[in-house]
Amino acid sequence: MGAIMQTKPLHVNPLKLSQPMGATLAFLGVDGCMPLMHGAQGCASFTKVFFTRHFQDPIAIQTTAVTDITAVLDGGAKGIAEAVENITKKVNPALIGLFTTGLTETKGDDIKGAASGLSLPVVYVNTPDYEGALESGWALSVSAMITQLTTPTAQIQKGKVALLPHVGMSALELERLKECIASFGLSVVALPDISLSLDGHLGEKQTALSSGGTTVEEIKELGTCEAVITVGASMEGCAKALRAKNPAITPLHVSHLGGLVATDSFIAMLMSLSGNAPTPTLKRWRARLQDALLDTHEMVGGKNVALIGEPDEIVGYGALLQEAGAKLACVIGATSSTNLESLGGVVGDFEDLEHRMEGIDVVIGNFHAKAIAKRFGVPLVVRGFPSWGTVGGALNHSVLYEGGAQSLFRVANVCEKDH
């Protein structure tokens, strides 16, 4: 069944987040990067506050601060050049991530032309907020980084893997995923890599630039990978950008890493890629997940779950809970996606959730689901953007064997506690 598109003329209590916000996050996963949003200043300000409260970490972002004078008169190049000049007065970024908003797209600004006039390394990408959503803004930026930075090559470095994760993975999930791949004797470069920049550590360098993440050098050399692993439906296209640099790269795709079945096939994939066997630790975690599924199946099994969020983020969670016998009674995604279709979900907002709460036992969604869960007296597991007022989001872990086990316990305990 296909995902049903929203037919309302508006969003009531919106779930969807914009493309420029996705682009911001993608650039924050590059070391020493300054995301530069090309638009009027409010979008960047809202985005900064939004992510600062979510990650509880300083967020680096700047804006070209388009005003009504420049908005109507020029093509944007002047404002962009001025912004870059002002940024470099204070800091020395390794990369400027330049992306558009609805305003500058409606004007038709030529950011490619503007970027080519700059002396610093710049990656530009078109991300109007009247199209796409968080996932696509992130994916478009990853593609742009590869297309504009990665050096074409015919060389392959055996055992080197490029990992392209979707926007919904937490810092810890990405770290664990990298470790898992590395445990097969493979070397792995993730793009972007927020496991190093947005992981909740106390950064000495304050907010000026992203600190930690994929280096520009690593992005340049990404073409020498033996394989590229994309995680999430939104990321499938990014592998194409990389293979355009080196067609010899093997594309490997997983739509998610939630639950025993999906993790099993991922591990099988790594085994055949590397020719190596899993580590004893990994095997032990598989046994623990089996155990967790059995331990929680009575609490989670038969429960009617409402799941709301970004498609790539919720699909793995949904699969995991289904393995323990939960029923996905209501699935709402922020944007259309084959992953959302596979869950039988609809594209919608929190008003749609409210209308479908009848008989729901537990809600899994972002901060905005709180009010609804409270009104209906149903327990809530907070996940996704934003998770204001909930701490530790960067260290949430629900993928692979270990995350699956931890996550099941969390849901089971929440269900038990409140009911």
């Binding site: 916000m21 009027a40 005003t67 002002n86 609805g102």
Partner: protein, 446 residues
Amino acid sequence: MQLADKSIDQTCAHVASKKPACSRPTPGATTGGCAFEGAQIALFPYADAAHLVHGPLTCLGASWETRETKTSVEGRDFTQMGFTTGMELNDVIFGGEPRLAKAIAYIVEAYAPEAVFVYTTCVSALVGDDVNATCKEAALTHGIPVVPVHAPGFVGSKNLGSRLGAMDVLKNLIGTKEPQFSTPYDINLIGEYNVTGDMWQYTALLEELGIRVLSTLSGDGRVAKIRTAHRAKLNVIVCAKSLNAVCERMEKEYGIPYISVSFYGKRDTSDALLQIAHALGDEALMERTKALVAREEALVEAKLLPFKTKLTGKKAVLNTGGNKSWSIASALQDLGVEVVGTSVRKATEEDKEKARKYLGENGVLMENPGAEQANLIKERGAHLLLAGGRSLYTAIKQRVAFVDVNQEKKVSYGAYNGLVNLAHDVIKAIENPVFDVVGRRAPWEQ
């Protein structure tokens, strides 16, 4: 194109300091919000009106449910909801008016609000949607006020947006209804948004004095009441310079004088009450107010006593923006804390003067707090840093206590009782060992 009303004076308090007009932000060196955000802040507290943002997803998707503007409205509290047309490519190409009209109809049918505010944003303004016409037609069809608010982000700063939003209310709502009765003590509170219930810390006192809050713009506001605002005897601006122009306009149109006050800290609260009584020009009221102020000050002093014994002699550095640079300083001093420095970055000349007045000769007014605050803490032996989240590391490195005063706060620091809340938070920070523990060096760094 439906842009902001250019006839409105675009200057703000900054201009008096002979700086260029503040509506031109610097590309690559700004963190402030946009005019739309300012309009949103000024008008969202009307909890019985639906607030519909006409634009793509960024403007509202990232900003709904961020502010705790408390309301006493029973039933649906629209301040905790987000409505947006969520314009898509088709609307950009063919115009967003049909979607807007449908969205208004949907809201009226599903939620029956007292009014609908329609906010233009960058994209809807640039594509030239005739929001005025759409609103006018919708008002006729649905029989409720549908107010167009023209403050698209690109016209300028938050301050400007607050003013533009308030002007649109003035134009469309104020004077459209008569109050059931009038009293000589009717006032409007302008620029008080009741964040965390700040307003409620003092409205009971006003009531006790016989002063009636006829309407507010817009804390715990009601659409029906703001329509009667033209019958007030006095406009009271609370801590929000950006709405001066609105009060000037009301003075011209309706002959309502205005004063500007602050309800932060003991001294300012007392001062505010006395100023209001004075402006209403009634001897008996003045006497009552003096008595009430004396009583309240004694009450709060008694409540603060246990805190003050702990806080007297403590030194604090304050790094926050705008009027907070002096209002919180004044509140801290009321607690017995010595404020050795405060940030005046982005402050108006007037704010700077006030900060100087409160801090005295020896207080440092930091123009570049990011660079100055660490040294100041060291030099003066401060015990406490009150600032926004990004200064946390400075506090930890200096191993002094930290209070985040910029995060969306959860409790009110307003008026007399709010001072007790502030005292609680400051003591909690000073007594918490966490800042010292986190500041320790790791074993491998020794």
